[in-house]
Symmetry: C2
Subunit: 213 residues, 2 copies
DNA sequence: GTCTATAATGAGATAGAC
DNA sequence: GTCTATCTCATTATAGAC
């Protein structure tokens, strides 16, 4: 019990395994698989290179674990929202604020997923079905919701795929291109953060204005 | 003269140097700097590995040449349009169709630029000024154009940075995430192409609808 | 479990023949 | 100019002491 209290005020002592996972997450995300160095992972974890191989057989194995985690972070939220029972407009609001919230915390998540999927597209199908993601269903539901809204003239005619692409693009791209945007628009970390915070509402209103009759 | 005619019907015989450049372009773009292999570049050019070093000192040098070319492809078009004397609406239409046209021809261009800039942000400034790109001016002009349109109530109040981000996002992101989108939406190369062709108009109208009072 | 030392390999770069 | 053979080095992976 005394220990518990001490641990609450101190930084919790993490196992080597946890330290490695955390470090690998950072390094793989920052550099991508090919440019990541086992040395850098070990260093950031504060342990020896050989220990990486003790816990995880090799680089590929480590990467697979990291990729799966990040893959979930990237897809599970949006999947849940798309499949929920919310109304179309509510869904759009939720997607926008959820995406921008998550990506504010993990700005380099989408670039990581995108580059690694591009370099090995099999992974998308492999991990997708491994964690029970069914794009067909997700999209079908969104699609019929859009069709219905069009039929009832609550929104103007628009193809649901284009609408979904618009929504996702406006949320995700600014983070994918963050280094470019920051430089071009001469923003520091803070002003970028503020712009994204404000963007949650701006993008939502932009979309609603675009699709409302 | 006879030779000329023959050459016109045959594939033009390209110099080793050109073959290497073409191949390097493909391989670096496909894999990124870190994962690109000199072996693969040589193979695709149909020549020997040593010859790469004869024409271009080393991997870094080769990459710099490729990167500069692709950097221009990515930025010069948009730069020219932003700085032109066109009206705001014309500008938006031009940006959208120009971007989608270029990226249809070079779908993996933005992913390449983005990953390589992310891994070495100095390059952005370095190459940017090397080819006389001045983001401040480009954005300032677009900004005042937006402000003016707002003042004259031709468009609703909107922050120009957000508007520009929306435009660029909707054009570029679908190509950045192409492998993901194709899989999720179960499209083949053709249907993706058709969707993008249609997108030129869809995105333009989406934006206009969103900003018109 | 964690380290040091070392092996094994992969990949970039150079030397030198033709 | 173009190739084969070789060198060098960085990096992953393993063996074995503690």
């Amino acid at each position: 019990m005394f220990n518990k209290i001490v641990n609450m005020s101190e930084a919790k002592p993490r196992s080597a395994e946890e330290l490695i996972i955390d470090s690998a997450m950072k390094v793989f995300t920052r550099r991508g698989f090919a440019a990541a160095r086992m040395e850098e992972i070990a260093k950031e974890a504060g342990i020896n290179r050989a220990l990486l191989h003790y816990y995880f057989r090799d680089k590929e194995t480590m990467f697979a674990i990291i990729f799966e985690t990040r893959f979930k972070e990237f897809f599970s939220g949006i999947g849940t929202i798309l499949q929920s029972e919310k109304s179309l407009f509510e869904k759009i609001r939720e997607i926008v604020s959820h995406e921008i919230n998550v990506l504010t915390l993990h700005p380099d998540l989408p670039r990581f997923i995108i580059t690694e999927v591009a370099s090995q597209p099999e992974r998308l199908i492999q991990y997708g079905q491994k964690m029970g993601i069914n794009p067909r269903m997700m999209l079908a539901q969104f699609n019929s919701q859009v069709e219905e809204a069009i039929a009832q003239q609550r929104i103007i005619p628009i193809e649901s795929r284009q609408l979904l692409m618009n929504i996702m693009s406006m949320c995700i791209y600014p983070f994918v291109a963050k280094p470019i945007i920051k430089t071009m628009m001469q923003m520091d970390e803070n002003s970028f953060g503020e712009l994204m915070e404000k963007r949650k509402n701006d993008v939502y209103e932009f979309i609603i204005k675009a699709i409302t009759p």
